[in-house]
């Protein structure tokens, strides 16, 4: 092993290249100038200059989630690092592997309130999986390699490496990536076999089973997705997916009941409520999924598969907990299934499917079409219909449009759906789309947006222009923060406090000001034409779709309610006080 001595800044570049990185999203500043100088002198790494550090992290998230690789961010000290915090928290909540390199003032100035100094490791400690402050150039390469290892293994997450400027100038010895092994960090990937046997006995006895899959399947990788699909086929069990899990199972298959949770389908939520055996694969019983905890699936035995032991028994008590990588656990389960020639109770399962088909007949996603005003659901149905023969990647912002996108876009494959689930970060979609487009230059990448969210990171249009990334922004414009307005209507007596946006920009002119293409639809008859024009555009394109201002997103489980107390449409609103006082205080 050659012990090569080189300046810290060059070691950073070499370590990234050795980790297989090809794109870095960043923004320069005083403390990271040595790294930018080293970047200038090489051509193995491509640097994408964003317009705000939050955008850099979201772009890296989009890149990571659409490729399965680690996303890399490079920002300066102080405000560079603090601007990245929202993105880091987003990546932590949604388990996205990110390595974020932050500049820091020279070590002798740390603690002196120096210019652009912030306690980056202190600030990011609760919003990263782990973080490091490098104090010796000889540790630098090892720490960067370790950061990649921690970010991508186990339950993935963001890792910050804080780099004081003097360390970037100092000379140190480079450590090769292969020789790095972490002292303590060893995530458990193989499940306990006795527990698998216990789970399979429960599964074999099921009369009303349901498979509830989450983002952990996609994070685990292609093998887990293939095994998950095999398990669903083998068992014939009804299957639902979380917001993060969409694409893990083909939406077109009849075993798929749609997304579950607060804005999930009627059939998925009632099947969760009435099941007798629940098989959770890589999901975390999030409050948007469970509704009121003490009324969550009261009659079921629960099997919980998760790589993170702290997810087990956090919200919902698991009867059988299988800790391990989803792929390893599913492989073991399928092995046991085949070895023991397990057969589900065919008659019971048939009855269960019959019940589910009754629920399906409620057609919970139906809405009243109009020929005067564009219904947001209609716009998304047309977007889906006109893009389904393409290689299409969808990102979203946060709010009603996000939930409608999850309901109306049918994902057949994983890694094609990027949305901020855990943190609910408005402003996620456009930078994420930029990251996706960089990773998939030939694909159609669409950010389904609301007019409020898009303004939170609209500056990234400039990034898209600079790198000729033809991302599409499809705005469902109702001039309201739609989900806020919906809650105010349902919970706060229709007092629309500050949820209406006056003085919105002209999005067509805004797109043009950035050098992109702007399109607008105000009538249902115009929807298809603008979508076709958008798809034909080879520039960053914003489509402003003026939609029904009063439309609400249904079905909805009001906060504090149970799965079987969902509202199916506006007509449900009058029937009884559906939101309890305890529900009011929940988010």
């Amino acid at each position: 092993m050659s012990a090569a001595a080189m300046p810290g800044a060059e070691m950073v570049i070499k370590a990234l290249v050795d980790q297989g990185v090809d794109v870095v999203f960043g923004y320069p500043g005083g403390a990271v100038l040595p790294i930018y100088d080293a970047l200038f002198k090489q051509n193995q790494l491509r640097h994408i200059l964003v317009r705000h550090e939050q955008g850099a992290v979201h772009a890296a998230e989009g890149y990571a989630r659409s490729t399965g690789k680690v996303g890399v961010v490079l920002v300066t000290s102080g405000p560079g690092a603090t601007n990245a915090v929202t993105g880091l928290t987003d990546a932590l909540m949604d388990s996205v592997p990110i390595v974020c390199l932050t500049g820091q003032v020279p070590t002798h100035l740390i603690g002196n309130d120096a210019f652009q100094e912030a306690d980056t490791t202190g600030i990011t400690r609760p919003c990263t999986k782990h973080n490091y402050l490098v104090k010796d150039a000889n540790d630098l390469a090892r720490i960067v390699h370790e950061a990649f290892y921690v970010a991508r293994t186990g339950r993935p997450g963001p890792v910050v490496v804080d780099l004081p400027k003097d360390i970037l100038f100092a000379t140190g010895t480079y450590t090769e990536p292969g020789s790095v092994q972490h002292r303590t960090y060893r995530p458990q990937t193989m499940p306990d076999r006795a527990k698998v046997a216990e789970a399979m006995a429960l599964i074999a006895s099921a009369k009303r089973p349901i498979i509830y899959g989450g983002g952990g399947i996609i994070n685990s990788g292609e093998r887990a997705v293939a095994l998950f699909r095999e398990f669903v086929q083998l068992s014939g069990f009804p299957t639902t997916l979380t917001l993060m899990g969409l694409g893990a199972y083909p939406a077109s298959d009849k075993r798929f009941l749609g997304m579950l949770g607060m804005h999930g389908t009627y059939e998925a939520n009632l099947a969760m409520h009435d099941c007798d055996v629940m098989i959770n694969v890589g999901a975390r019983f999030d409050d948007r999924v469970t509704g009121r905890l003490n009324a969550f699936s009261p009659g079921s035995k629960k099997i919980h598969i998760d790589i993170d032991p702290s997810s087990i028994n956090k919200n919902v008590r698991a009867d059988v907990a299988l800790i391990g990588d989803a792929a390893e656990v599913l492989a073991e389960m399928i092995k046991v299934w085949k070895a023991k020639h397990l057969k589900p109770d065919a008659r019971a399962l048939q009855q269960w499917w019959h019940q589910i088909d009754q629920w399906r007949k409620r057609d919970c996603l139906r809405y009243t079409q109009s020929d005067k005003v564009i219904k947001p659901q209609y716009a998304l149905q047309r977007l889906y219909a006109l893009t389904r023969d393409r290689d299409v990647y969808i990102t979203t912002e946060v709010g009603q449009h996000q939930m409608w996108a999850a309901q109306f876009f049918k994902f057949e494959d994983p890694k094609h759906w990027m949305t901020s689930g855990g943190l609910g970060t408005m402003g996620y979609g456009l930078p994420a789309a930029i990251g996706v487009q960089l990773a998939h230059p030939e694909a159609t990448v669409i950010d389904i947006a609301g007019e409020a969210s898009i303004l939170m990171n609209i500056q990234e249009m400039s990034t898209a222009m600079q790198y000729r990334l033809p991302v599409k922004v499809f705005i469902l414009n109702n001039q309201y923060m739609g989900m806020v307005r919906q809650w105010q209507e349902l919970l706060h007596g229709g007092r629309y406090s500050e949820s209406y946006t006056a003085s919105l920009p002209d999005f067509v002119k805004l797109a043009e000001a950035f050098g992109g293409v702007g399109l607008r639809a105000t009538k249902p008859s115009e929807v298809d034409d603008v979508i076709k024009a958008m798809l034909a555009s080879d520039k960053p394109t914003i489509v402003d779709v003026a939609v029904d201002q009063a439309e609400n997103c249904f079905p909805m489980i009001p906060s504090g309610a149970a799965h079987n107390e969902m509202l199916l449409g506006p007509e449900d609103r009058q029937t009884g006080g559906s939101v309890s006082e305890e529900g009011m205080v929940l988010v």
Binding site: P126, K129, L133, R183, T184, P309, S310, I312, R317
Partner: protein, 170 residues
């Protein structure tokens, strides 16, 4: 929702890398997730391998206690987490330094009680004593309560340190 009777007190031992920020990670975990810390002690126990041992006394429902242990285990620099309350018998001790001021009968009485409790005098002036006392939290509580009317000035306590009985290691 949780009845008071569900709340249990547990002593948890955590072996961590002795690196900057590790204590902040542990404390931040407790405050960020709303867990209780009744006492917390930390010191390096293995200088060769740069390992520190944290003893934390916490309380919560069995589900919360399980979460605390899982969340602690998830921290990257954590080597081992042991629930000494659950895993067999253990010895728990705390050390206190107790400063008394006064003269005359109260001074004599405090010295007499210190003798009964087997506290040692580690500093003395004409008008003050500092007692050193080791024992269970309850014993220290009892002694400090007795000292209050006798001129108690200051108390400094280490918090609980604990170790399992028998030959096994953490």
């Amino acid at each position: 929702m949780t009845a008071k009777s569900d709340i249990e007190k547990h002593t948890i031992a955590v072996l961590v890398d002795n690196e900057p920020g590790v204590l902040a990670r542990v404390i931040g975990l407790f405050s960020g997730r709303g867990y209780n810390i009744e006492s917390l002690t930390v010191a390096e126990v293995d200088p060769k391998n740069r390992l520190s041992r944290i003893t934390v006394v916490t309380s919560g429902t069995p589900m919360i206690i399980e979460q605390i242990k899982a969340q602690l285990s998830r921290l990257v620099p954590v080597h081992a987490v042991r629930d000494l309350t659950l895993e067999g018998a253990s010895v728990e001790r705390e050390l206190a330094l107790i400063k008394m001021a006064g003269t005359g009968d109260r001074r004599i009485e405090s010295l007499r009680l210190a003798d009964i409790f087997r506290a040692r005098v580690v500093d003395a002036t004409i008008e003050s004593f500092v007692f050193e006392m080791t024992g269970s939290t309850e014993k220290l509580d009892a002694f400090i309560k007795l000292m209050e009317p006798l001129g108690l000035v200051d108390v400094s306590r280490t918090g609980v340190v604990a170790i399992s009985r028998g030959a096994s290691r953490l």
